[in-house]
């Protein structure tokens, strides 16, 4: 415990410390970040922009995706992506200007790359980061197929996914300054 005397000494020391170091004294900018290797960054970097940069190796077909979907997605997103209890993934194309718009991957999402990105980072909700890259490609293919965006025999990979033209690609007005 502080005695009154020690308190006075501490206060005096604090005062003299202030006086000894003017606030205008130059201080070197702190730099506490550590260098990080490209290999380590690759393990962390999971975001996929519309260009497809960063898409991993691997591929998946609609047929393979149907099986992945039935096993890991259907319980929440419903048969054929029609939703309930979680969001509908298919349908609603041409509904956006009506009084009852249905916003799904097919009717609303502007980029197919976002579907791969989000599925890999967040799905299934109860077990994210558990799918193989082939499984993510496959289920991506299946959801695009459910919306009539790609054919039944299509295969999705790093090359073909960014080329998919989504129905609502031009449906957004960028208002950022």
């Amino acid at each position: 415990m502080f005695t009154p005397k020690r308190l006075v000494v501490a206060a005096a020391a604090a005062l003299s410390a202030c006086a000894a170091q003017p606030t205008s004294a130059p201080v070197k900018a702190p730099a506490f970040g550590e260098p990080v290797s490209a290999a380590e960054i690759a393990r962390w970097d999971i975001s996929i922009p519309p260009s497809g940069a960063g898409l991993p190796a691997g591929s998946g077909s609609v047929k393979q995706g149907e099986a992945v979907y039935a096993a890991k997605c259907q319980a929440c997103h419903g048969a054929k992506g029609l939703g309930k209890p979680a969001d509908a993934l298919a349908g609603g194309i041409d509904s956006l200007a009506t009084g009852k718009p249905l916003r799904t991957v097919g009717s609303y999402w502007p980029y197919a790359t976002t579907l791969f990105d989000y599925t890999r980072r967040a799905m299934p909700t109860t077990n994210p980061l558990s799918l193989s890259n082939d499984e993510v490609y496959a289920v991506t293919a299946y959801v695009l197929y459910l919306n009539g965006i790609i054919g039944e025999s299509a295969v999705v990979n790093a090359k073909t996914l960014p080329q998919v033209k989504m129905p609502n690609r031009d449906g957004f007005v960028n208002v950022s300054k």
Binding site: F32, V36, T125, P128
Partner: protein
């Protein structure tokens, strides 16, 4: 004591001799006998005057020794009903996906207690060990850097008071019939705290941001890895790497151990549990900036990247589900805010917008923080409709509900900053109404 002091100040000669009270002729032995035989009588007898503390005013808690210390304080047990309003659209399937809205109807001032801060989470609250958590800053920078929490806690810090509002706040007031629930359950996806942290600009400068970097992808360490794209201008302006909230380290639900804080912008962008920042040329078009948090228009197009939260206010007292017990004086009290800067003015109407009076503001000097407004009101026991209308320093005025609705698709659920109306019936019941 008073009597004794008065006596002591008087001259000896004037000291009363005949009046020493009821004790005068009672010796110790007599007193003991009387006490034992007639304890019950003592209280009603002259004995009670100055003799017993039992008859003094004093509730039971004044007559027992109080509780000991606790390491972390809690609200009074009588305030237990003050709780967040929890919304779980997926139920037990995903109990941490949804929102917990701040009970603004029970709060005063401008600071939201940390435990009552609104929460909007997509995949629950992660249990993050700060010794293992890291923040990666990479992409279009000269020096990609990894920051430990120990490193972040060493940087020079800034402290500011800012509101945070989910852009889905007040979407429950867009359903056809006005819900009769407390104000917080409608408009409480909003809170205001004192935030302390490292200016993001400092870390970007350390990493050597390249000129072609125009956006910054921010990503959380929750199981959804919630991610958003942020214009670099905002990142270099007032963006904060927040580490402390209201003086203590962040609560887990608010992003412990580190979150992004983008003052005035939709809450979803202030990414919690921040694990990665990537400088990029363009926006990444993440799920939460395309499929969600975009504003559908009547023609089927949608506004994307509507970041700034509009000027807004809501009367918190009296408000929906409350009851005015009798005619007479009431103080109308509420909160106002604007993502564009300072609130300049809040007007209050008690006649459904036919006439307006300027409320007194508290905290209007702070940009992008809650302002408390107050106005005295004499309720005459007649039906009334209470409204508030905020104006910010940029001249933005909070729109009427119908004006706001006309701008968007009937299905749009984001950025509802329209005027809120509460009606008071003749019996004093306060209800949520669309006016």
């Amino acid at each position: 004591m008073e009597r004794k002091n008065r006596v002591a100040r008087e001259p000896e000669s004037r000291m009363p001799t005949g009046d020493l009270g009821p004790f005068r002729k009672i010796d110790r032995r007599t007193f003991l006998v009387r006490g034992a035989a007639a304890a019950g009588v003592a209280a009603s007898a002259g004995l009670a005057t100055g003799a017993s503390a039992q008859d003094l005013a004093g509730h039971p808690w004044e007559r027992v020794y109080g509780a000991g210390f606790t390491g972390y304080g809690q609200p009074a047990r009588f305030e237990q009903p003050v709780m967040r309003h929890i919304v779980r659209p997926y139920g037990d399937l995903a109990p941490g996906s949804g929102a917990a809205l701040s009970p603004i109807e029970s709060l005063e001032g401008i600071i939201t207690p940390s435990g009552l801060h609104n929460i909007r989470s997509h995949s629950g609250t992660p249990d993050i060990d700060p010794k293992q958590h890291q923040l990666l800053l990479h992409g279009l920078v000269s020096r990609p850097l990894m920051f430990s929490m120990d490193a972040l806690w060493r940087y020079p810090m800034t402290t500011r008071i800012y509101f945070l509002e989910c852009s889905g706040n007040s979407n429950r007031n867009l359903v056809p019939k006005p819900a009769q629930v407390p104000a917080g359950a409608l408009h409480g996806n909003l809170a205001c705290s004192e935030w302390t942290g490292v200016p993001l600009r400092m870390l970007l400068e350390e990493a050597g941001l390249l000129p072609q970097a125009k956006w910054l992808l921010a990503e959380g360490a929750d199981s959804a890895h919630m991610s958003r794209s942020i214009p670099i201008e905002k990142a270099l302006d007032d963006a904060l790497i927040a580490l402390y909230q209201n003086g203590e380290r962040l609560r887990p639900e608010q992003g412990y151990p580190v979150r992004l804080l983008l003052p005035g912008w939709e809450g979803n962008m202030s990414v919690k549990w921040l694990r990665r920042l990537k400088a990029t040329e363009g926006p990444t078009h993440t799920k939460d900036e395309t499929s969600k948090y975009t504003d559908l228009l009547p023609d089927g197009k949608a506004l994307q990247f509507t970041f700034e939260m509009g000027v807004k206010s809501v009367i918190t007292r009296p408000s929906s589900t409350m009851k005015l017990p009798r005619a007479g004086f009431y103080e109308i009290s509420g909160i106002a805010w604007s993502g564009a800067g300072r609130v300049r003015r809040v007007e209050v109407s008690t006649d459904g917008g036919a006439s307006w009076s300027d409320a007194v503001l508290h905290g209007e000097e702070r940009p992008k923080a809650l302002v408390r407004f107050r106005l005295p009101w004499e309720w005459k026991g007649q039906p009334a409709v209470l409204q508030s209308r905020a104006t910010d320093e940029k001249g933005n005025v909070q729109p009427a509900r119908k004006v706001w609705q006309a701008r968007y698709s009937p299905d749009n659920r984001f950025h509802n900053n329209s005027i809120v109306s509460w009606s008071a019936d003749a019996d004093g019941s306060v209800k949520n109404v669309y006016a």
